[in-house]
Symmetry: C2
Subunit: 263 residues, 2 copies
């Protein structure tokens, strides 16, 4: 894809500006286009903090802990802005799920330019706030929710993001594997698979192939997410599984996953 076209799309969708303005002319020289294949990561400017604009495709933001452990912090899709630290407690990488096109900026220069314009500042601040709040929600999910709640929340979050909703049902084409869902939810691939099986047995979802999932009963699914303040189903405290494949436990809350805007 053409670099100028992508940059133009970036300016419009992010700041509602046309090229030619001061912001556009300042950011243009530091924007670097990159297109990567599934499984790959951008190596552009990886030695410093970056801001990445997702022009096309989907990526996962992965943090590497010790050993082989990897946590997916967020998923990102077209239009998202991602803040990536170069160093820190963990190593973070944006890895493509599908063929992905992105614009990479050095963070310091990017934010210096943004700060000079009130409108752009306001928009970036709002994106950062949104990313922070979503990350907090994810924290709650990982700290307080059990497996069925996490998977239910994940499915609902994905549905809100890119599901075709029709009459209480909703079908999704998940761009990520079970392994990636597990890495995002802090669960193993087997546990994710079991929860999906449980949801299917409950008649709440149906599956087709490995990535096609249809949400048949959004209400019940929401009940399994356990939003705060909600009744939490018919349980209150110390709710546990019932039998072999189990029913559910309580219900925690939802939407810890996507990554919406700036993350």
């Amino acid at each position: 894809m053409d670099s100028s076209t992508v940059f133009q799309t970036f300016l419009r969708s992010t700041f509602g500006q046309d090229p030619g303005g001061t912001l556009g002319s300042q950011l243009r020289p530091i924007a670097k286009l990159d297109t990567i294949a599934p499984g790959d990561t951008t190596r552009i400017g990886s030695d410093q903090d970056r801001v990445i604009y997702m022009a096309r495709g989907a990526t996962k933001l992965v943090a590497s802990a010790s050993g082989e452990r990897e946590q997916i912090v967020a998923f990102h899709f077209a239009g998202d802005l991602v803040s990536m630290p170069a160093q820190g407690i963990h190593r973070y990488r944006a890895i493509a799920l599908t063929k992905a096109t992105m614009l990479v900026f050095p963070a310091s220069t990017f934010f210096d330019c943004i700060a000079k314009e009130a409108d752009a500042s306001r928009l970036v601040i709002e994106r950062l706030r949104g990313a922070l709040h979503r990350c907090r929600d994810k924290t709650v999910a990982l700290g307080q929710k059990n497996a069925i709640e996490r998977v239910s929340s994940f499915l609902l979050a994905m549905a809100e993001r890119f599901g075709g909703t029709e009459l209480n049902t909703c079908s999704l084409e998940l761009p990520m594997s079970r392994r990636e869902i597990g890495a995002s939810l802090g669960l193993t691939i087997e546990t994710v698979s079991r929860q999906i099986t449980t949801l299917r047995n409950l008649g709440i979802i149906s599956t087709e192939g490995r990535s096609q999932i249809t949400l048949l009963d959004l209400e019940k699914l929401t009940g399994l997410c356990g939003r705060s303040g909600g009744s939490g189903g018919q349980f209150r405290k110390k709710p546990k599984f019932d039998s072999d494949q189990g029913r559910l436990r309580s219900a925690g809350l939802a939407a810890e996953t996507t990554g919406g805007k700036l993350s």
Copy 2:
């Protein structure tokens, strides 16, 4: 404490500005001072998004999930700026750990004012980025680390925040209870207690009373946190406990806790 004095301190420490400037005169009218006792929460402007400046004391940022479940997303101390959403998937509250003094702003007006000044924008953006990155680190901890790793990381993070370091040892006076540590790490009070006992038995820490902890061996403690890229001790894969009170497992990483600046 005097409202004007607190506001002045806020302007200086956050933006390096003196009152009288445009920013100060714009923010002054919307700043509301509040002092609350331990266990209490501010009710000022709780119907809308807020930004809270912590002038004095310590608070915990609590998210309520369904049932009785509560997750502490971050701890905040004097000088911190906290972004608080009014609505969302969960209900968030800033609850005082000690007697706390704070300045409360309505978020939208606050950020509108900030965005108009380049310097202030840059600083706020940097704080938001920091908060986001710390929150991500916490996500990794909750998603990938086991109990001993979480507690070790927590202690190290607290030590970095307000510990008197001297010759590989460091003593802390924790302002939070075991219950709050557990709520922050996604663990129960009993598990936290057991990990502390384990660390004491390993000679890595010593305790005195219920809140005084001395870190005797920062190196070993760090090894239990499992930072990425590190050797992870002498383990690689599938590292498990050894015996009754167990040794350790692998080692994950650290510092998911504090909350540093804007969270």
